[in-house]
Symmetry: C2
Subunit: 315 residues, 2 copies
Amino acid sequence: MKIFQRAEIEAVIRQPEAIAAIAAGFVAYSKGEVTVPPVGYLGFTHPPGDLHIKYGHIRGDAVCVVKIATSFYDNPKLGLSSSGGLMLVFSARTGVPEVALIDGGFLTDFRTAAAGAVAAQHLAPKNLRAIGIIGAGIQARLQLDLLRQVTPCRRAIVWARDPEKARAYQIEGFTIEVAASVAELAARSNLIVTTTPANEILLRAEDVRPGTHITAVGADSPGKQELDPALFARAEVLAVDSRLQCFDHGDSSHALRLSFASRERFVELGELIADPRLARTREDQITIADLTGLAVQDIQIAKLALAGLGRNPAV
Amino acid sequence: MKIFQRAEIEAVIRQPEAIAAIAAGFVAYSKGEVTVPPVGYLGFTHPPGDLHIKYGHIRGDAVCVVKIATSFYDNPKLGLSSSGGLMLVFSARTGVPEVALIDGGFLTDFRTAAAGAVAAQHLAPKNLRAIGIIGAGIQARLQLDLLRQVTPCRRAIVWARDPEKARAYQIEGFTIEVAASVAELAARSNLIVTTTPANEILLRAEDVRPGTHITAVGADSPGKQELDPALFARAEVLAVDSRLQCFDHGDSSHALRLSFASRERFVELGELIADPRLARTREDQITIADLTGLAVQDIQIAKLALAGLGRNPAV
C-alpha cells in the first residue's frame, strides 16, 4: 500500500475533471449502479469527537473506496485541524489495499464543492447577476472557486454570521461584496449557495427572487437546516443528491415533514443530468438542489486522485 | 501514518501477552466498556469477494481500531492469499491515523487462536488426555500452538475432511495423531477445538465424553455450524464470546432455535473470567465455548502490535 499526503493529492486534482467525475458519479448512483452500505459511526466523549466510515463500489469499477473521516472539536487547541481522516482504495478484483490518501479532508471538501458546480451547471439560470454565498468557511470559498467552471459570472455577494470573516473573503478572479443580511444577499443574487452548519432557517422563502437557483450543502446530518421549508413550495424544481439521504436529514426532510412538498416532486441530480427535461425550463423558476454528500462522490474523487498520482490498479 | 507489514508485525506478537490481552478484552466487552458499531459489509460478484469493516473503542483507551478485512475467493489463481486487509489505528483523542498494520489477516488469525486459549484456560478440565483438533487449516494449527500456553498437554488428535492435510500437520513440541473419524477423535480427547467452515453438524452429541471442553470457532457467520445442537443440552457450562453475536449466528443460535438450550443458560466469556464461579466446577462436566470473533479482540491485538512496534500514540 502506498501512502500519499495532502499536498501531493491537491497537486493532481483539477476542477473540470472533478466536476465531470462527480456528475458521472451522480448518474451512476441514480441508475442504481453503486453499492452504498450504511454509514459507519463511532462516537467519542473525552474529548468529544466522532469517526464516520463511508464506503462503496460502482458496478464494474476496478477499485472500491473506504473513507474514514474524523472530527475532533478540541483539536484546534492542540494546533490540529478538527477534521481529518483518510481514503483507502482497494482493488475490487483482489481486495488488495492499493493506496491510502491521507488528504486531511481535502478530497471531501473538493467533491462537495464539485457537486455544487454540477448542480449550478444543470439548474442555475443562464444569466447570473451575482453568486450569493452564505458562510465564509473552507466550503464557502471552494464552492465559489469551482463555480468558475460553469458560469462566466465573477461577481459574488457574501454573508456570514461573523462579518470579519465575510470581509476577509477573497477568491482569485472574483469581485466580492459583503451583504449586511441574508435578505440583501438574496435580493442581489440569482444563484445562492448555503454552506453553514446552521440548525435553523437562514434563507427565508419571501427573500428569494423568481429565477433563483439555491444549492444547500450544509444540512449533512440530522438536526441541521439552512432553508426555509416554505421555499420548497415556491420552487419548481426540487433536486436532491439522494432521496434516501435528503428525505432523512437534508433540508428536504423539513419540507416533507411540514408538507411544503410531496415526495413525488423530488428528482435526483443523477436523473436530472441524464434527462435535462427534468431541469429548469424557464428563466424565472426557482430551483433547489439539496446536497447531503454521497459515498459515490468519495469514490469518484479518490479515483481521480489515483489516476493523477499514476496509481491505477494493475488488476 | 506509519505502515507496518506482516513480517514486522509477526515478529512482535508474543503468545502469552496476546492471550492476556484477549482475556482482558473479553472482560471489558462483557462489562459494557466497549463501543462496537455493527459490522460493515461490501460484497463483490465479478470476481466474488467481500470486504468487512469491524471497528470499535474501549472506554478510556488512547486509540481506536478499524479493521478492514477482505476475502476474494479466486485470489489463489493469481498467486494471492484469498484473505487480506489491514487494521488502522487512530488516536481516540485527536482522530489522527497513527498506524496501518498490513497484516494480511495474521492478527485476526492470532486473536482468534488466543481466544481459544482463553476459553481452554477457564473451561478445560485440569488433566488433559489429548487435544482434539477438527480441521487442518491455519486456524487449526494456531489454536494448537497457542494452547501450549495454558496446558502442559502435548498430545494432539487431528481430524480433517482431507486426510492428507491431517497427516501433514506438524506443530513443534506436539505429538500428533490422525483420527479416522470425528467420533474417534472425540473418544480420545477431552479438549476439542472445531475450526472448520462447516455448515452442518461435525461433532455429534453422543460422541462427546463426560469431562470434555469444546471450543467452536468456525461458525462466524450465518449458515455455519459445527456442533450438534443436542450437545448444548448435555453441556453444563455454555460460554459465548458475545450473546449478541452467538445468539444470532454462532453454534449457539442453532441450539436456541431448536430449544436445546434457553438464553439464560449462556454466560459470556468475559463474565466467566471475571467470576470463576461461573466456569467448570467438576472434572466430569461437559463445557462449550462458542466463539464468533469480536471487534474488541481486534482492538486488543492491534494495541499489542502497536506497543511491540514502539508506536504508542503520543497524545
